[in-house]
Symmetry: C2
Subunit: 407 residues, 2 copies
């Protein structure tokens, strides 16, 4: 594949127009949208408008006048086509970790008497920490197993299974339907973490029978650093489940100011405290970057990009790197991982050359592809720079070995 071929692919890309929806720095190839999505071009105006024409001008009246009170559901509705759910099953709230705590606690309460939370070894760390914290509170145990042992580990003592759908390291993903069916067969619930799935691959929460899910707003959804998270509760569970994080926003009558909690109907009961309206405005601008884009097309472009990158890296770098993601693009999310014994330093050298990915211990270089703004030409250019860095040992400099506080 030559650069001309890649440019032709980009010219024929039906999603090429979407790159204009972002403000990307020049001379940078950004492959870390799986950690922090790029800024949408509309975000500054969304923030300024919310601050200057709503908060500043209309002050407290904005809650009614600008409908702030409904933003957690109004904005969640924009997520519905991205994850394949009904708008009434989605809510924007809190952080990913707090949303996970809510749904795990609700699930374990609904399955009282069962003593086990099943998860995966090397799951995204915060997911394990949240499960451990809850288990510690309630006297449950967390059993973390290998990915291929999950279905077999589910038994009559399993209250809930919690898994990250697309693995943040390898990009391999679970069969959502198979795990859900295995859990339902024993009466257990499953909470999916969609942080590395939503906005990256085609999802069909409704069609796959998924019952509970949470996810991150600041990765592929482009909601800004630390954006509010989302949670999903299938309609048929909304009556039964009860969030333990009972706050006034989830009360049936939040403005009655009564002493006793009475949960709101439907998904609203999973709200807790007052959400940051400014953060919601930015998240909305992020979700709007998906407007009018079929997730099938987005997923197809993701596979086309990542496959080109994998092939070109392997052609140029040979045995120096090892693909640590599934080889079949239909079996992975929208990022690709290559292992190299000096992966940390190699990644720093790449960043210094304007190719921004990230590193995960012990030896994994992650390259995340955002089909809304990455191009085929970038795949070739990045592979070329990587090959150059490896062949010249450019990475072997003190400045590339020094560990930053945040990696």
């Amino acid at each position: 594949v030559t650069l001309e071929d890649a440019v032709r692919l980009d010219a024929a890309d039906p999603l090429a127009f979407a790159r204009e929806r972002f403000r990307l720095p020049e001379c940078v190839i950004y492959f870390d949208g799986n950690s922090l999505g790029a800024m949408p071009a509309a975000t500054p105006a969304a923030l300024a408008g919310t601050a200057e024409r709503q908060w500043s001008d209309d002050l407290i009246a904005s809650w009614n006048k600008h409908g702030w009170i409904d933003w957690p559901t109004r904005i969640a509705a924009k997520l519905a086509p991205i994850v394949g759910a009904d708008p009434s099953e989605l809510l924007i709230a809190d952080s990913t970790s707090v949303c996970l705590f809510k749904l795990l606690a609700a699930a374990t309460k609904a399955r009282l008497g069962r003593g086990t939370i099943i998860s995966q070894k090397r799951n995204f760390p915060t997911d394990l920490y949240v499960a451990q914290g809850l288990a510690d509170m309630l006297g449950l145990r967390v059993k973390a197993v290998e990915p291929d042992e999950v279905e077999g580990a589910i038994d009559a003592d399993t209250a809930v299974v919690t898994l990250t759908h697309v693995d943040y390291r390898s990009a391999a993903f679970y069969d959502m339907r198979a795990v859900t069916d295995a859990a339902r067969a024993t009466g257990a619930l499953v909470v999916w973490d969609l942080s590395h799935s939503a906005g990256a691959i085609e999802l069909d929460l409704g069609g796959s029978g998924a019952e509970l899910a949470i996810g991150c707003g600041y990765k592929y959804l482009n909601g800004g650093p630390g954006a509010p998270a989302f949670l999903y509760v299938a309609r048929h569970l909304q009556e039964e489940l009860q969030s333990p994080l009972q706050g006034w926003m989830g009360h049936a009558e939040p403005f009655a100011f009564v002493d006793d909690y009475r949960p709101a109907d439907g998904i609203l009961k999973f709200l807790t405290g007052t959400p940051s309206i400014l953060a919601l405005a930015a998240l909305e601008a992020g979700l709007d970057t998906f407007e009018g884009i079929p997730m099938r097309d987005l997923a197809a472009k993701s596979r086309s990009l990542s496959q080109l990158f994998v092939e070109d890296v392997e052609a140029r770098c040979g045995d120096e790197v090892r693909l640590a993601s599934p080889r079949d693009p239909a079996q992975r999310g929208s990022h690709v991982v290559f292992a190299h014994p000096e992966g940390y330093s190699v990644m720093q050298a790449l960043i210094a050359r304007g190719v921004i990915g990230d590193f995960r211990a012990p030896d994994l270089m992650r390259f995340g592809f955002a089909p809304l703004y990455n191009t085929h030409a970038e795949m070739l250019r990045a592979a070329e720079i990587l090959a150059d860095i490896l062949s010249s040992r450019e990475w072997d400099q003190p400045r590339f070995h020094a560990r930053a506080k945040v990696t």
Copy 2:
């Protein structure tokens, strides 16, 4: 007191300069900074800079380059002089409700075997809901008593007492030292909700022996709608207490990505998920409106404002309204409440005339005074408009009787 007197008081006000730190709409007298503080003039630039010169330009590298990782503590340090605590005892995180859940859960765990959470009847609703949710999870009970019964209700079964320091309705406040001492005498902990205190009155958490507290960022602290909250854990409890909401930001080594949770040292262990950096930027602009302002001066101005308002309203309106706050300004926070049987409609009529307070059932009109931007002249003008509305029965119109969704 004439308008000329009030103007003279404003001319002599050592805090008068602070009004320039806010962008307030013209022709509005804003007395609802106790619900949503006005927008600081610096906020739009803070948001734009964070979005456009940090997130957009530096992308993921911003976590190191702009020190985002330290913002929850860096910004909390600006709160330290406002609440009288050491910076190492404060953290910005989550919502007020979630912070309260964390500290109540940490406190009940540290007092395992004790079965009661004591609170106040008619406490701020979310505080009771959070306590009830936690109690339900852990098999504890919430005992809500009258304010003057709190100290007597604390006994050997009390795990934790949770009170709103300044009552959101009456503005009366608890003696922080007396309640803390009563609790400590039995081994119980106290979690103070400072939502209607922080930035409104002089606080000395350290000096009063307070051990745990949380509070709101969007009222007197001017952090913007739904701003992140804060929590306070006295140094001597930081080792013993453990947050049940264990997330990766509170891990000792968040970037080691290990499977097992190990809490960070000190206050950092109370972090959970990734905070919204945009919301933190706005909160910082809010806290910066207090820069260089001694809380003693601020509290003195608060008393001067509210006393003028009370006296002028009573002089003009006579028996038509009833003061529902303590008469002694030294016994109340920075808002004042008058009861009127048609309080809802009277408040709507006031708002239509540009005097923005709020209403709390059943009959309470709240007027919150922000010493950073309210003036003595506004007190007289608002009292005059209120008297006019009452004497003319201007409030008795269908448009003022219709209830809005958010009140």
